[in-house]
């Protein structure tokens, strides 16, 4: 080594600046130490990730579909379902039974401002004005005349009832804007909220163009048992996977709400859709709503 160094010194050109190794050594050592530390750190990081992945294979901590978190839903394959919801606004009589049934079935809080579904009455008067009223969501039916301010006394040209619920949009804005990914879309197309993760910021409530969401108030009687989290219509997710219909569909006396699995040949819903040709409702916000409407609601601007 020393012979090599001496040879190198002698072979150097005349104007070469020779820096003794002792002076350079600390700098080089420092640089190479930090370089080595960096590489070592990178290897440790890589090793850690690989190790964690390997451990996860041997110890199944990622809960799988077969987990007994809650009673297993027997033989329900969400991917095969094409849930279809049709609302006929020419048939609705505004009795409000759907709102009552929903509140009872889903333990929705009692005050009228918290609701998963509601009915609006749209009244057009002779002067072309549109008056919309929804007294307590229509839960007790509607009074004889429109209660919207300014509608009193005006002769009515046309009027109809408009049941409303979550559209379970194909491109839901509420899912996109949640900052903690608490709301999500299931394989069968229903948008649900994980009440354990929701922080109650209300972003999803303001982002819904159809006004389908709300934040639960205080009290134990809330759908997820938690106050201050987002809640919305789930198409009675706990009923449809057992072959039942959503409560509002079940109870509607005039079949203004219809529900079924379009993929099931025994289900009449596919035939109904084909025969009546319902359409999505207010698509201008680009969310691709999936509740199909019939009747005067579609003609409204």
């Amino acid at each position: 080594m020393i012979e090599q160094q001496t040879a190198a010194v002698e072979a150097a050109p005349a104007d070469a600046i020779l820096i003794p190794l002792d002076e350079l050594a600390p700098a080089i050592t420092a640089a190479s130490v930090s370089r080595r530390a960096f590489i070592g750190f990178g290897l440790a990081l890589a090793g850690g990730i690989v190790g964690a992945g390997a451990l996860a294979q041997y110890f199944p901590v990622f809960a799988s579909a077969g987990d007994e978190v809650s009673p297993i839903v027997p033989s329900y394959n969400p991917a095969t379902k094409a849930w279809t919801f049709v609302v006929d606004t020419s048939a609705c009589i505004g009795c409000g039974l759907c709102v009552v049934a929903c509140k009872e079935e889903n333990h929705v809080p009692e005050p009228a401002e918290f609701t998963r579904t509601w009915i609006e009455r749209h009244v057009t008067t002779t002067d072309g004005s549109l008056y919309i009223d929804s007294p307590e969501d229509g839960i007790n039916g509607f009074p004889k005349d429109s209660t919207a301010p300014g509608a009193a006394g005006k002769p009515v040209v046309s009027a109809y009832f408009q049941p409303r619920l979550c559209m379970q949009c194909a491109e839901p804005p509420c899912v996109g804007v949640c900052p903690v990914s608490a709301t999500y879309k299931t394989e069968d197309g229903v948008v649900l909220v994980d009440a354990r993760r929701c922080i109650g910021c209300g972003y999803c409530v303001t982002s819904c163009p159809y006004g389908a969401r709300y934040l639960t108030p205080a009290g134990e009687d809330t759908p997820a048992g938690t106050p201050g989290v987002a809640d919305k219509c789930t198409w009675c997710y706990h009923r449809i996977n057992k072959g039942q219909k959503p409560a509002c569909v079940e109870i509607c006396p005039v079949k203004a709400r219809q529900f079924g699995d379009a993929n099931d040949p025994a289900d009449p819903i596919a035939g109904i859709v084909k025969a009546t040709n319902p359409a999505p409702f207010h698509t201008e916000w680009g969310t691709k709503p999936r509740v199909l409407y019939l009747g005067p609601a579609l003609e409204e601007a």
Binding site: T147, C178, Y210, Y214
Partner: protein, 469 residues
Amino acid sequence: MQATLRPMTIAGRPIPTLPEVGAWIGNEVRTTPRGLKRWYALLGVLLGVGGVAALISIPPGWEVMGTKPVFEWGLLIVAYVFFAIITSGLCLSASLGTVFGFERFLPFEKRHAILALISLVTAFLVIALELHYPIRMVFGALLTPAPTSPMWWMGVFYGTYLVVLIIEVWTLFTDHPTIHKYACTACAIVAVFAPTTLGLVFGVLTAKPFWYGVFTPIQMVCTALTAGLALLGIVFWAIDRFKLADHATAKPVAMPSIRLLMAIALAIVSALLIRQMVDALFSPTVGMREAAISLISGPLALQFWGARVVVGLVIPAMLLAMPMTRTPLGLLGTSTAMLVGVFADRLNLVEAGQIYPRTTLAGAVSYPYASYAPSLVEIGILVFALAFFAAAYTLAERYLPMGESDSHVFWPWPWIKHHDHAEPGDDDHDHEAGHDDGQSDPGVANAGADGADLLKRLAELTGTEGVQR
């Protein structure tokens, strides 16, 4: 028996014992000027009242807020946005000095950093009280990130902002000039991105046509600048009035700089507001017209015309334009008015966006407008936040060295010739040697060597040598 105990130390500094702390507090109470005592008393009362409101709101009962499903974002969101944009505005306006090296903006340096940090902490305090489960947000945002959510990005950027601000403030008061320079630059960059994401939180919602669009983030950044400048104006009035650290440069250097920037900011913000109103009034989108009408002649007319336009834009413009009011007191008036205007502007934005609901919910609509009135608890929390901000800054101003430091002038563009007033080869830390060139203006004798230099430069630049402002 009474041996002298060696005091415990941390990082070389002794930890004071309780009696020492008590004695120090007693001394402080004795020597505090009476006016300051009254100010502390006022802040104490407000903190108490507001603190009670904050405590009431903590259990997730949530009947105490005035928000409801049709009007979910209320006064606390407005307060959060207000404090968040003050932070960004402070860094934006101070970056002209700390990052781009314009010397006339250098007096902002220390104050803006402390103010920005306190403002951001206040903003986080308000949002922690507004959210129903703030702890879940910390875990949720990290474990289950949502890159599609502007609110998530806002959290990321403001979280980063907090870290960078802490670094900036720490290095400012503990002589790490290089790190401080880089922290200031990072701060300036984040100060543009953070309010942009905050604006995008509103701007991506097609459900609320008044909020939707690209101009909401732009307006957020511009009103941020306005708010930051307004706060600096109030602070520098206080510096001049109460003869706080480095008050010599406050009146001649800082105030004209603030006024200049305020004029520019007012012009931009006015133009944006006019554009927004005209666009909303003539928009074919349902909801836009109604929102604009609610602001111009509807329920929000008072807070639009009164608070936003007259108090927030017209009065500051007049006060800035008239030579008679270009005084420290005039600046205080201008700044207060502008700050009120910015708050009103955020309130208008949040309310007008939600006031025309696309759906009636449970007859909760006082047709055609939804109604919202902040509850006492919400107002109490706002009072608490303001008092906390004022108290924190008062303490910082009193007990931290706020004089201008040496760690500035970071000029990152080498191809642009930067005129440095120091001679080449001069050590930046050599101020104690003094530049006794005999040109110190007698009227600003206490400016110190550095301040005298600054005044000299300014005089040369503006051709007002020998003229005392």
